[in-house]
């Protein structure tokens, strides 16, 4: 059953070599980066946060982006040293870095490991060159596999991401590709359906009616179902909507998000949740790298903070927690008594299950999470 969620640190590195057409994360392409300044800014932010949180045990650090594998390994090392100075590290602390599988980055894996990173998540995204090109990736399928081989040799824990339900992808295409992926996967795997987000290159193309070949809803649903079955058969069941792992190899950091724990977020466009003096805050830093860097180096707090009400805290906990196979405490649903008819209806339709005071989605309910949430929360 669910453990205590713990405390994590998210570090956002906002730069990429090139922007991918599907990506709506806060990423920027820049050729002039003063790595030492960024390292100093991260250090100052960690010091500032440490003074506010006081002594806490840190369960995880996650370097996300952007493309954090483009960071100077020294920056990673300096972030981790200051985090260790400010907070105490749990014995089993998980330190993850997201990496792109180009040869340049694979060459630096050893330095990242030496800096303290013990888990890597590699963005393979596809296993054939044509689709990688369509997704705007800068690596080939071969480079990807080689980079992942290096990663799993260097780091104690590793994972890779794939995107499916791509343009012109058939069910059998994906079946073959997923079988290949499972064959060389380690103990963790992230499998995302391609989502067209507004404000991305794909989003613009879709708005103009030029994005063709996306699978119709029913095919996308078939792909999702097949993915669940194949990963389950291979001993990599979904512990979250899009994340699969052998028991014990789940991402500790991401579980903090889904279980409603606390995490501090530093870097531009970082979102955190912090409990300070009995109030839970949603924190958000400016998206512009320049603006964030300036504020952090000036010793100003760049965060925008909002206090969350108990109802908002509970709603978030339900929205995030129902993504997990383990579900959430049913009592977290606001106005539970008023929702009882909806809850019973969902249970009768075999979309949710209730036991031991917890509520969780069934296999049939998992792809319908948003509809279920409407019944439970709206």
């Amino acid at each position: 059953m669910a453990e205590l969620p713990g405390f994590g640190l998210y570090v956002h590195w906002p730069f990429c070599q090139a922007k991918c057409p599907y990506c709506d994360f806060n990423s920027h392409v820049s050729t002039q980066i003063d790595h030492a300044e960024w390292a100093r800014a991260y250090e100052m932010e960690i010091e500032r946060l440490g003074e506010e949180t006081g002594e806490r045990r840190l369960n995880s650090v996650f370097f996300g982006g952007g493309t954090p594998s483009l960071m100077d390994p020294q920056t990673v090392e300096r972030v981790l040293s200051s985090a260790r100075r400010v907070w105490s590290f749990a014995n089993d602390i998980e330190i993850t870095l997201e990496a792109n599988p180009t040869s340049v980055e694979a060459d630096r894996f050893k330095s990242f490991f030496a800096a303290g990173v013990n888990r890597v998540s590699v963005g393979l995204q596809a296993l054939n060159d044509a689709d990688l090109k369509q997704l705007g990736r800068l690596h080939t399928a071969d480079e990807g596999r080689r980079a992942f081989d290096i990663a799993r040799a260097v780091f104690p824990r590793s994972s890779f991401d794939l995107i499916y339900a791509r343009q012109d992808q058939s069910l059998s295409d994906w079946e073959a590709e997923l079988a290949e992926a499972i064959a060389f996967a380690s103990a963790h795997l992230s499998l995302y359906q391609l989502t067209i987000e507004p404000g991305t290159a794909f989003g613009d193309r879709q708005k103009r009616g030029l994005l063709r070949g996306l699978p119709p809803d029913d095919l996308a649903a078939d792909m999702y179902e097949m993915t669940q079955q194949m990963t389950l058969d291979a001993g990599l069941p979904a512990y979250e909507t899009s994340n699969h792992a052998q028991a014990g190899d789940e991402s500790k950091h991401n579980l903090i998000y889904w279980r409603g724990g606390d995490w501090a977020a530093i870097g531009p466009g970082g979102h955190g949740r912090l409990t300070l003096d009995g109030s839970r805050y949603a924190t958000e830093t400016p998206r512009s790298p320049k603006e964030w860097l300036g504020a952090a180096l000036n010793g100003e707090n760049p965060e925008n903070r909002t206090v969350l009400s108990q109802e908002e805290i509970n709603e978030e906990a339900v929205m995030m927690g129902l993504r997990l196979a383990e579900g959430v405490e049913a009592a977290l649903i606001p106005q539970f008594e008023e929702k009882i008819n909806n809850i019973n209806g969902l249970a009768e339709s075999n979309l949710i299950e209730l036991h031991d005071g917890r509520i969780m989605l069934t296999a049939a309910g998992r792809p319908l999470l948003n509809a279920v949430l409407r019944e439970l929360l709206v």
């Binding site: 649903a221 899009s242 979102h271 949740r273 949603a282 908002e312 995030m320 792809p367 509809a371 709206v378």
Partner: protein
Amino acid sequence: MTDLNHIRNFSIVAHIDHGKSTLADRLIQMTGTVAERDMQEQILDSMDIERERGITIKANTVRIEYPAQDGQTYILNLIDTPGHVDFAYEVSRSMQAVEGSLLVVDASQGVEAQTLANVYQAIDADHEIVPVLNKIDLPAADIDRVSEQIEDVIGIDATDAVQISAKTGVGIPDVLEAIVQRLPHPEGDRDAALKAMLVDSWYDPYLGVVVMIRVIDGTIKKGDQILMMQTGAKYKIDRLAVLKPEMQDIAELGPGEIGVLTASIKQVRDTRVGDTITHEKKQTATALPGFKPAQPVVFCGLFPVDNAEFEDLREAIEKLALNDASFSYEMETSAALGFGFRCGFLGLLHLEVIRDRIEREYDIDLITTAPSVIYHVFMRDGSMIELHNPADMPDLTHVDHIEEPRIKATILVPDEYLGDVLKLCQDRRGIQQDLTYAGTRAMVVYDLPLNEVVFDFYDRLKSVTKGYASFDYQMTGYRQDFLVKMQILVNDEPVDALSMMVHRDRAESRGRAMCEKLKELIPRHMFKIPIQAAIGGRVIARETLSALRKDVTAKCYGGDATRKRKLLEKQKAGKKKMRQFGKVEIPQEAFINALKMDS
């Protein structure tokens, strides 16, 4: 009081966008009626919706003082009238109050269907007509061709047409001179008993009901005790004024003059347009014939999306009705939609204008049910029921036959789109009555059932002709046809807001189109939803909206929690915009959009 020889009363006849309001603006501006700093475009149109849509809905008037070239100063009274067919009754009664018309035709476009309809009203009212060719500065202007068209199609002499550009002001002095020299002055006897025509009335939040009058005989002064001859109501005049276009008090109005009065009249419904106003003590012997009141021809239900807003809706509708005697309403209850109102309108534009005003000025989201015309249902026992609402359709075993209203539609269209227009009219059960050519355009006259026109005929016409066709219609009467009530069932529950009367031969294609449209408009639910069209118990069309299979967001990490929460807030707000029919939620816009057909 002004000498009859120095008065000219006129209206302007034009198709929409041919420059009627701009010409009025220029006449007002050039004569210094309104100070330059107070001038704005479409100055006579006071409603936001009028300015936004570029149309005139209410007739308006302005009194202009014009020192003519003959050295005399003339009083020119302009009544600006609506151009759209829905408001044709406003045009006809305004025409009765003046002696002449300016016929404004866009020199680059030529005569349009609305020009024709309105100019015939002017001819019926015995007007002297001065043709004015506007937009002569446009490169596409073709003065000779359009002059010829005016002579061929309308049959009036266009040799002395005044050539202007209302936009740049070219030719405006010539228009003013033509009004003075070519339009007749009014006739009247100032010593006779007072006889004045009630031209229009409207509600002003500060003044109460304002009544526009045209004096025929006698004189009228502030403080006079007056009698409205049709209603028998008596009032004392509080205020007498002319419009410039702001109200300006005046001591007296004599024969031929146009002005406004207030008399502590509570609501517009207390006045009857076309009524004769006379003095209570010294009454005129003969009343004016009066006008037939405007009758609503299109009916629909208006329901608040949020049931809690019913009282707000009642208040909004009552306020709008105070100022619009042509709009009727009564309370209606629907099993699915709760409390609302069955409202009657002069046409679809009128319906849209009222609906927009309720949504905008009173901030109430509405569900508009399928518009319906008035059917005459003849029962076996010989009685006749006027059916405004398909929900009230009596049991068929008692019905002998049904008649529906027909119209005469006049369409002007460039040759290259003629085929499409004929097809559209045939598809809508039209019977061709006339087809003639005027230059490069065809004039098509069709006898059509009104119920085929109310939904989207005008939209379809515009789309098949790329906007080049113009259209006007008049009601002609009732005719028997094979009409049936079609119901729409969503998840096996009848949705009465979507019920409609259709011709038997059109029911299947109409039902199929509605089911297909609804399949697109209703979001997928967690279960599959049958959507059916039925006549009586017989299903004539069916679609199935398959169940939602997957909607989960692929990625949701720390940065997405806030976004998810905002989405939740949006969903909570959006839920208020949906109505529940059994287990199915139907979005507000689905009701009106389901009726719009693609062909």
